[in-house]
């Protein structure tokens, strides 16, 4: 059982480390190709939507976003006409077959009937209008992802039956690997090696029409520990697509990757191939580290470390850090509150016989406070934790997660065998920098 951290003075004030529901909804829409989006909101909310499109790295040439730019009179008098006009203009200019009409806090609270408006306006609009109510107050980014998934659920048709071994991959973007596309590619590659086809990646670089065959998949695999569980459950109940591997950590580190591969292989009856992949992967990691990183053994052994991450990585990293790198995970701080993730983490640390301090749903203040009061040697997190560590006098900070302070040009998986090496490479470089003198001590050379 983990030791759950409690914080004072945090009942009413939060220093958020997660975006709001609007960003989550936009993150689902941004994953669908060739659609446009009209936000019924003051102009500032456009930044939140843009952030979601940035997260999918949607090329600037392909963004079709309009905003009603609500002002005070619109709030008082209502702005349905303004929205109608923008929808007409966007339909004409953007020329997309589907347009999401998204109401944010302001429109949501003043009670703009976006659904009714879309229904009435639909006959004169070429694009199919999909209304979504996404006031930021409806939750955090993960709640927003769940809302967005709900909005596109009607497009999912009942399966016509498919014979192939195929899966859907769910919510790859709810992941704080700054280039999470690397993880997605890695997972696809692993599945390909097992002769398992990916039916749909929901929602990333997909066409809305793909949802027509979504239910043909034999299983859903959730790539996030933070969002999508309700959707996966609904799909299980209504479409008969089982969620597999919903109760084990993501494939991070050797043991978790092996467990993940074996689980999916068992489901599809591909055990033999799985063992080959595992053998080759583990060999590759050991071989490279033997040649290039032998000295990580004395470096990392019994290093007391704090992990600050989302549930996807925060839960999955612990075993790698403790059993494979011989570090001591003392503090595990997870940005979201998620009961499923909490249960998995509890099982994990119990099986390892460790008792780190843990907190879910932490904000900036709590992370900083926990770091200040800890006795860790190093922090594994984002650039936020890097700056906090500097203040807290913690010498080493591994800047792995978003928002990161590193330039990354090529997508780098953190999941799987290469992913482990990618993470170790960053950890190794940050370690070196932490111990290099900041200035040359010229007196010693005089």
């Amino acid at each position: 059982m983990y030791d759950e951290l409690k914080f004072e003075n945090c009942s009413h004030s939060k220093d958020p480390v997660l975006g709001c529901a609007l960003e989550g909804v936009a993150s689902v829409i941004a994953g669908i190709n060739d659609v446009s989006i009209v936000i019924h909101s003051p102009q500032g909310c456009a930044a939140t939507v843009a952030n979601a499109f940035d997260n999918h790295e949607i090329d600037f040439t392909k963004r079709k976003i309009g905003c009603t730019r609500l002002f005070e009179t619109d709030i008082i008098m209502g702005a349905s006409e303004k929205l109608e006009n923008l929808i007409r203009e966007a339909d004409k200019s953007f020329g997309r077959s589907v347009m999401f009409v998204v109401g944010t806090c302001a429109a949501d609270i003043i009670g703009e009937d976006i659904e009714g408006l879309c229904k009435n306006l639909q006959p004169e609009i070429n694009a199919r209008l999909i209304p979504v109510v996404a006031g930021g107050f409806r939750g955090n980014v993960y709640d927003g992802i769940n809302l967005g998934l709900k909005a596109i659920t009607p497009f999912i048709k009942t399966s016509g039956g498919g014979a192939e071994d195929c899966v859907n991959l769910l919510i790859p973007q709810a992941n704080i690997n700054p280039t999470w596309m690397g993880d997605l590619d890695h997972i696809k590659n692993l599945l390909e090696q097992l002769d398992i086809r990916v039916q749909t990646v929901l929602p990333h670089n997909m066409g809305l029409e793909e949802l027509g065959s979504f239910a043909d998949a034999k299983a859903n695999i959730l790539l996030s520990g933070d969002a999508g569980q309700d959707f996966a459950k609904r799909m299980q109940e209504k479409q008969g697509i089982p969620l597999i591997m919903g109760d084990i950590p993501q494939p991070v580190g050797l043991k978790n990757t092996a467990r993940w591969i074996r689980s999916v292989a068992t489901y599809f009856d591909k055990e033999e191939k799985a063992e080959e992949i595992i053998r080759a992967g583990e060999e590759k990691v050991a071989d490279i580290l033997r040649r290039r990183a032998l000295m990580i053994i004395p470096r990392y052994r019994n290093l007391r470390i704090a992990v600050c991450a989302d549930a996807t990585y925060g839960v999955a990293l612990v075993r790698m850090l403790f059993e494979e790198l011989e570090m001591i995970p003392e503090l595990i701080l997870i940005r979201s509150s998620n009961t499923r993730a909490a249960k998995i983490l509890e099982r994990e640390i119990e099986s390892m016989g460790i008792s780190p301090k843990v907190a879910f749903g932490v904000d900036g203040y709590q992370i900083k406070k926990a770091l200040e009061e800890s006795r860790v040697d190093a922090v594994l997190g984002s650039s936020w934790e890097k700056y906090m560590a500097e203040e807290a006098g913690i010498k080493i900070a591994f800047d792995l997660f978003a928002p990161t302070n590193r330039d990354i040009y090529l997508d780098k998986a953190y999941m799987g065998y290469e992913g482990m090496l990618n993470m170790l490479e960053i950890i190794g470089n940050d370690w070196e920098r932490a111990f290099r003198s900041k200035e040359i001590n010229w007196e010693q050379y005089a």
């Binding site: 220093d15 709001c20 003051p42 102009q43 500032g44 963004r63 976003i65 200019s93 806090c105 700056y387």
Partner: protein, 509 residues
């Protein structure tokens, strides 16, 4: 002018004419639904991010606080070495939106005072709480005696005003944190100034910034800087700010709001000029300050000394530029007007500002008035693409229109002042590049001259095919730099830098 441009022109004439048309409602000044700017909440919190040891409590859902924290505070940490800076939210959820969030706000203020011990707590209203009508002022008034920090409310709901209204609101409001001048303090600060109109936070230590150059000039003259408001200023600095000899605007437009407020409230004199790009503007800035400092002689000596250092190189560059045409990218209204001022006054060039959005005639009224009063009236060219609805396509349109426009010029007679992400066939001078700083002051004038010389010297080199391909993907045709939101984060107006993935990102798309 090239023939084809005529078909694309929405406006071509002088700034004064555009200004008049806009006032008479004869040209569309509104922004399109695809051209969003930061809202009032964002601009207000941008200024607040420049006040040290203060905490902003956003009374609303968490997204607003999270957004500005990631944009401004994380950038402060990344670029300027600031410690981690929080932005607090009362985290309004559906239930609180229905039943009201006054209790939450009360609790948040008490918690923040206790856990952060800040000098000031700013309570910023968001759209959600503005609409449901939480009585923020009453709550704050009721708590003043119960907390150590100074409390200040800001009604900066995102819908409550245009983009720049957030700047003006905060600058006006923070004068309430200031103490009236005293004879003793005035004596103490008789040779000190405030630089007003700054925003966001401390200066980068590793960059020769414009602000640092102004501070250097002042110090050379024997003048101290009490505070840069609001560029990492403290409550103590703000308190004594009205007692300085004069407020000098950093950005005329934004600095004017606080400068005027302090003039009216405390009688603090205001030295308000256009951005001190180039010699003529810098001279005005220095002389304007010296008048109130009683240091005209020192100012004159400084001007002579500074100019003598750059004279030879500067005059050499001027020879190559005089009578040439300068096409200035109009994305950033204040900057392009200041550059036009410099190029006309210092280099004797003919300035044409390209695609200055008519929206600016309202939003940047102060600067335009100032420029016209000084007798400068640059030419403005606006093409259809600037006013078109859409994103990439309209940007593509403006780039094509630019190329049409420039098609009639040769590279020896025209210089383009804009982003290196544009690819006209004439020399490009990108004054935003970090290595081209400072741009202010005499050193700045020399830097600009050098920058122009280098652009001319290497104008024989074709622009990199690789760079062009990065900006203008083959299948998509041409795009303008303005659409390169992920790359121009730190350069374009109204944009800021996100640290996520270490890429510059535009705040607005």
């Amino acid at each position: 002018m090239a023939g084809k441009i005529d078909e694309n022109i929405v406006f071509y004439g002088h700034l004064s004419e555009l200004y008049q048309l806009a006032k008479e409602g004869k040209i569309k000044t509104g922004l399109q639904g695809s051209h969003t700017r930061p809202c009032k909440f964002w601009t207000a919190t941008k200024i607040l991010s420049g006040i040290r040891n203060s905490i902003v409590i956003t009374h609303g859902p968490s997204g607003c606080a999270y957004g500005v924290k990631k944009a401004y505070k994380l950038t402060n940490s990344r670029n300027s070495g600031s410690p981690y800076e929080p932005v607090i939210s009362t985290n309004m959820d559906e239930e609180k939106v229905i039943h009201g969030g006054e209790g939450e706000l009360k609790g948040a203020i008490l918690e923040v005072d206790s856990k952060y011990r800040p000098d000031i707590i700013f309570i910023a209203a968001s759209c959600a709480t503005g609409i449901i009508g939480d009585n923020i002022d009453a709550i704050v008034d009721g708590l003043r005696s119960k907390v150590s920090a100074r409390l200040m409310t800001l009604h900066c709901e995102g819908f409550a005003g245009e983009y720049r209204s957030g700047f003006d609101l905060v600058f006006k409001q923070i004068t309430k944190l200031m103490d009236a001048p005293t004879a003793e303090l005035k004596k103490q600060l008789e040779r000190s100034v405030n630089i007003v109109g700054g925003k966001m936070g401390p200066e980068r230590t590793e960059v020769d910034t414009d602000v640092k150059e102004l501070v250097r000039l002042l110090e050379q003259m024997g003048v101290g800087v009490n505070s840069i408001i609001a560029g990492n200023c403290s409550l103590e600095e703000l308190k004594r700010a009205p007692s300085v000899a004069v407020n000098c605007t950093l950005c005329l437009d934004i600095g004017y709001a606080i400068g005027t407020e302090m003039l009216n409230e405390f009688g603090t004199p205001l030295n308000s000029t256009i951005l001190p790009y180039g010699i003529s503007a810098t001279e005005k800035w220095i002389k304007g300050a010296s008048k109130y400092l009683g240091m005209e002689n020192e100012a004159e000596a400084l001007i002579q000394k500074e100019y003598s250092h750059i004279k030879e190189e500067f005059e050499e560059a001027r020879k190559k530029l005089v009578d040439k045409i300068a096409i200035i990218e109009g994305h950033d209204a204040i900057k392009c007007l200041s550059i036009a001022h410099m190029l006309e006054r210092d280099f004797g060039m003919r300035a044409v500002i390209y695609n200055f959005h008519p929206w600016n005639t309202g939003a940047r009224e102060t600067s335009i008035d100032y420029l016209l009063e000084t007798g400068l009236d640059p030419e403005i060219l606006i093409t259809k693409g600037t006013l078109a609805f859409g994103k990439y396509e309209s940007m593509k349109q403006t780039e094509e229109e630019l190329l049409d426009f420039i098609g009639g010029f040769d590279k020896d007679s025209v210089v383009y002042f804009g982003s290196s992400l544009s690819f006209p066939s004439i020399p490009v001078v990108d004054l935003n590049a970090i290595m081209n700083r400072p741009r202010f002051g005499y050193r700045g004038a020399l830097k600009v001259a050098k920058c122009i010389n280098t652009a001319l010297e290497y104008s024989f080199r074709k622009r990199s095919a690789l760079f062009k391909k990065i900006v203008f993907p083959e299948k998509s045709g041409l795009a303008s730099a303005g659409s390169m939101t992920s790359k121009l984060g730190s350069e374009l107006p109204d944009c800021t830098v996100y640290a996520e993935r270490r890429r510059g990102k535009c705040m607005m798309n």
